[in-house]
Amino acid sequence: MFPRPIQQASPQARVLYQIALPIALILWLLPLIGVAMTSVRPSSDLAAGNYFGLPSAIAFDNYLAVFRNSPIASYILNSFKVTIPTVIGAVALSCMTGFALAVYKFRGNVLIFFLFVAGNFVPFQILMVPVRDLTLQLGLYDTTLGLALFHIAFQTGFCTLFMRNFIRALPYELIEAARVEGVSEIRIFWYVVLPLMRPAIAALSVLVFTFIWNDYFWATVLTTGAATQPVTAGLYSLNGQWVAAWHLVSAGSIIAALPPVLMFFLMQKHFIAGLTLGAVK
């Protein structure tokens, strides 16, 4: 293990480490702690200049006010309307593309694989004008469906990379054995490979959920009003309306951040497995 386990260090070093841990964490999360505290700070504190002392009272009203005075509930609903279909779509499509690229030898296999990988790295701006135009022509501009369709397509690049590498690492003999038995290719996919892909599907689902929930660029390019905008874009427009009402901005920020954070804590193992696949061989 590197570095040397702290248990083998001197007692002083051990105590020092135990003290350093929480201090480092507080410093690291200082902006977040500040915002969390502001989100429960009564507005009277802000008026009195108490910006980062302890709140004089815990004002959960800020959260109520955010829901009452802004369409944030609708923004959150829109985020789900974009995120859930995207997760399902991108994972389903990439299960198939990943299977095709991992299991079969055919001309152009590696080329197609690299196209997916490279496409996944391009800057969004090179896609912006044509994608916006296409969405307009399909009559899907300013709809959650139009946004979801693009996300499905784009995420398929990353997901294919992930799925293909995952399936490659599965024991190929299983597939061979099934073929000898005369099982059709589609059944091999469905009954042999897909059940083994569960961890990959879980990992990708949380990752894609977080990516899409947090997307801001495409939300501003493809949607406009509170009826369709996801919470990231909504939060930004609220920020414009609530100039200097930092207690509301903070409460709104915390609300917007909550779903991916919950997702992360519930599915931590899968989340990290997803991020680090390929980083360690």
Partner: protein
């Protein structure tokens, strides 16, 4: 027909499995790249007739001061964002212990990455805010005069990059923590018996084994730096006086904001950004291809 399908299924199957995903990807990702390149030769407001103007958009870019500011800021982003790699490694090493509660520490350190950049941008705007922002207050306490980071042309880009580094360091940290988990213990023991420790151990024994993690960390950091858009848009909308623009934001501003609907000019900026990104993408793909061959 059925017999044909059955006899050739192993030849046909990959194409059938690929078709839906590939179709989506071609329509929404591959084709738009070429469409954007084509649009960059036109003068077009997005609604009316597009007028072919050849290289005029690119000629205009050469004389556009805002373009150079954006380009310079992109270079700055790229250079400073790289700090995430050593910083992430440092935190990973710091946290790579087995003491009570360490798992909770690791996930809390990772926290910033899970939050949307919109929220990160708002948090840091608050942190930097003149008069009452925490950083402003700290600087004021030390130097006697506060600095409104986001309103100062000299500091604004650094301020935004610092906000961007926060989640990026968390990301790199997780990559290295996983990497450290997989470092061969017998090699460390052997090196220890040879008297290696501290920096020497890190440099000669650990880092070479962390190469796959470092590669991914560099890839995601480069991409992250060149894609930076959200934070600039949230924290300053390019200001003050356009001094914090980056190419991705300038493109958006030209093509889709109140400053005008110059799709062609925006597309030309996007093509330049794409060309820069392509240099890196080609490098990554080339390395992946080499690994693939060795496999």
């Amino acid at each position: 027909m059925q017999a044909y399908l059955k006899a050739n299924q192993r030849r046909l199957a990959p194409w059938l499995f690929l078709a839906p995903g590939a179709l989506f990807f071609v329509v929404y990702v591959i084709a738009p790249i070429f469409q954007s390149m084509a649009i960059s030769f036109y003068d077009w407001d997005g609604l009316g007739e597009a007028v072919w103007i050849g290289l005029d958009n690119y000629v205009e870019l050469v004389d556009d001061e805002a373009f150079y500011v954006s380009l310079k800021n992109n270079v700055l982003w790229l250079a400073l964002y790289m700090l995430a790699v050593p910083a992430g490694l440092l935190i990973a090493i710091f946290l790579n212990q087995t003491v009570w509660g360490i798992r909770a520490y690791k996930s809390l350190f990772f926290f910033p990455f899970v939050i949307s950049q919109v929220v990160v941008g708002l948090m840091f705007s608050w942190f930097y805010a003149p008069n009452f922002g925490l950083l402003y207050a700290i600087i004021e306490a030390i130097t006697g005069q506060g600095v409104a980071i986001l309103a100062e042309e000299r500091f604004v880009t650094y301020g935004i990059i610092a906000a961007g580094l926060w989640p990026q360091i968390a990301y790199v940290m997780i990559l290295y923590l996983t990497g450290l988990n997989n470092v061969a213990p017998d090699q460390i023991e052997a090196a220890r018996l040879d008297g290696a420790k501290g920096w020497k151990m890190l440099w000669y024994v650990i880092l070479p084994q962390l190469r796959p993690a470092t590669f991914i960390a560099v890839v995601v950091t480069v991409i992250g730096a060149l894609r930076s858009f959200d934070l600039v848009s949230i924290m300053t909308t390019g200001g003050p006086f356009g001094s914090s623009r980056v190419l991705s934001f300038y493109m958006y501003e030209q093509a889709l904001s109140e400053y005008g609907y110059r799709m062609g000019y925006g597309a030309a900026i996007a093509v330049v950004l794409f060309a820069i990104m392509m240099v890196f993408i080609t490098g990554f793909i080339w390395k992946m291809w080499r690994d693939e061959k060795d496999h």
